[in-house]
């Protein structure tokens, strides 16, 4: 082990929830470490325009995230970027977070790990990313002008983006794993009435293949069990978001969707471990909800830290 560092609170994740927790905790003069994987700002930086953050006129998510980061740093929070997954060990009033060889300790932890777009996780997906496989219609749609493509998914994003891609592509095949769509009826109707769009239901993409760029996809029909190659120039994948909680299995209680279960103080099933933002079990995922929950988590964890410090003083 290279070093040991103690903080009052360790926050995992530096999206809007993590940065808010950092602002509240460091303003309360609690030593705060924010460990983040990926880009500081989380999904907020992906939002081109934020028009619904109260008190802030139309701005970019990137700018709002930069200001949140600046605020957290100005109050004294430490933000560290990590490339390895932090691993949590619960030792009662002391929590241990290990990142590679480095060990950090704290009296409380706040989990603000957010969510990420779901990938198919099939052969060739990573290899052909940017060479035919895409996750963003507005970014990459124009590269597929005059081409035939598939859209994978059956929710609102998949159907909405398939319609928007019909501006560019000559033929769009929506490949969906179920026999019905999860999207709102209006999106389904719009896609169905678009003559460039056709549907392959109860079918999964199991492989992407090609030479220098994507040329075909292997489709598995779940009903008949048959597999067939479909020639295509591109594949857009919109299969929803997932909480970044893979590493929390066995640490705190998660629901069947992998979301963290919290109480009204944002405390998880483990005393002293709190959670906020998109990774918790909830219905609405917005910047405002994330920062609101993070405020509660920060205040509740601060109260917990003061309690632990007081107890330690009494026993010493």
């Amino acid at each position: 082990m290279n070093s040991t560092n103690h903080f009052d609170v360790i926050v995992l994740g530096a999206g809007p929830a993590g940065l808010t927790a950092g602002i509240y905790l460091s303003r309360a003069k609690l030593s705060t470490l924010i460990l983040n994987q990926g880009t500081v700002g989380g999904q907020l930086i992906l939002t081109h325009e934020i028009a619904n953050y109260p008190g802030v006129e139309l701005t970019s998510g990137y700018k709002l995230a930069s200001t949140m980061k600046k605020q957290a740093l100005s109050f004294g929070a430490t933000i560290k970027t990590v490339s390895q997954n932090p691993v949590i060990f619960d030792e009662g009033p002391v929590k241990i977070v290990k990142v590679g060889d480095t060990e950090y300790t704290a009296n409380a932890i706040i989990l603000t790990l957010g969510g990420s777009p779901r990938m198919l996780g099939v052969k060739g997906e990573i290899e052909f990313k940017g060479l035919g496989v895409s996750y963003c219609a507005t970014c990459d749609g124009e590269f597929f002008s005059g081409k035939e493509i598939i859209v994978v998914g059956g929710g609102n994003s998949a159907l909405e983006e398939a319609v928007s891609l019909s501006k560019y592509a000559t033929k769009i095949t929506i490949v969906h794993q179920f026999d019905n769509f999860q999207a709102f009826p209006a999106y389904v109707d719009e896609a169905m009435s678009n003559e460039k769009i056709s549907f392959v239901m109860e079918t999964e993409v199991v492989e992407f293949a090609g030479n220098e760029r994507l040329e075909k996809v292997l489709l598995h029909n779940k009903k008949t069990g048959t597999r067939e190659w479909l020639k295509t120039d591109g594949a857009f994948i919109f299969i929803g978001y997932q909480p970044n909680t893979e590493t929390l299995k066995g640490v705190v209680s998660l629901n069947q969707n992998g979301e963290i279960i919290v109480n009204s103080d944002m405390e998880t099933s483990v005393s002293g471990i709190f959670a906020a933002g998109d990774s918790i079990a909830k219905r609405y995922r917005q910047v405002t909800t994330a920062v609101g929950e993070a405020t509660v988590a920060a205040l509740a964890s601060a109260a917990k830290v003061y309690e632990i410090k007081k107890e330690l003083q009494l026993t010493n």
């Binding site: 880009t39 992906l46 081109h48 970027t81 940017g130 060479l131 507005t138 970014c139």
Partner: protein
């Protein structure tokens, strides 16, 4: 035409040429302010401190002058934004299409633009 990042901005083909002439190791992300590009700028901003021997810059994909990147042979077949180019002594040593995470960028920098060389 300028991107809203904290990176060094390349606006013209002349700027691009100058950056390549003045710096041995260069990483340029050519994109827009969209969800696939912004995370790459973010990664570059975070790595700037650590990889001081590399010049990190952005260039707007929609600028007519960005043909120096858009039409580079190494970007042939690219169908995802951003187009990210890594140069050593003015030559492209690696090019990627679409979003890349911190680990992916770091591994390219360590392999193709290492500190000691």
């Amino acid at each position: 035409m300028k991107l809203d990042t904290n990176l060094h901005h390349i606006e013209t083909a002349n700027d691009w040429k100058k950056v390549l002439e003045e710096n041995e190791n260069v990483m340029i992300c050519c994109g827009r302010m969209g969800p696939m590009c912004i995370p790459v700028y973010g990664v570059m901003e975070e790595l700037e401190e650590e990889y001081k021997h590399i010049k990190f810059a952005d260039m707007p994909f929609d600028s007519p002058e960005a043909t120096v990147i858009r039409n580079a042979p190494e970007a042939n077949g690219f169908m995802g934004l951003p187009f990210t180019m890594y140069y050593k002594k003015g030559k492209v040593v690696k090019a990627t299409s679409s979003i890349q995470n911190m680990d992916q960028v770091r591994s390219i920098l360590d392999q193709h633009l290492p500190k000691s060389n």
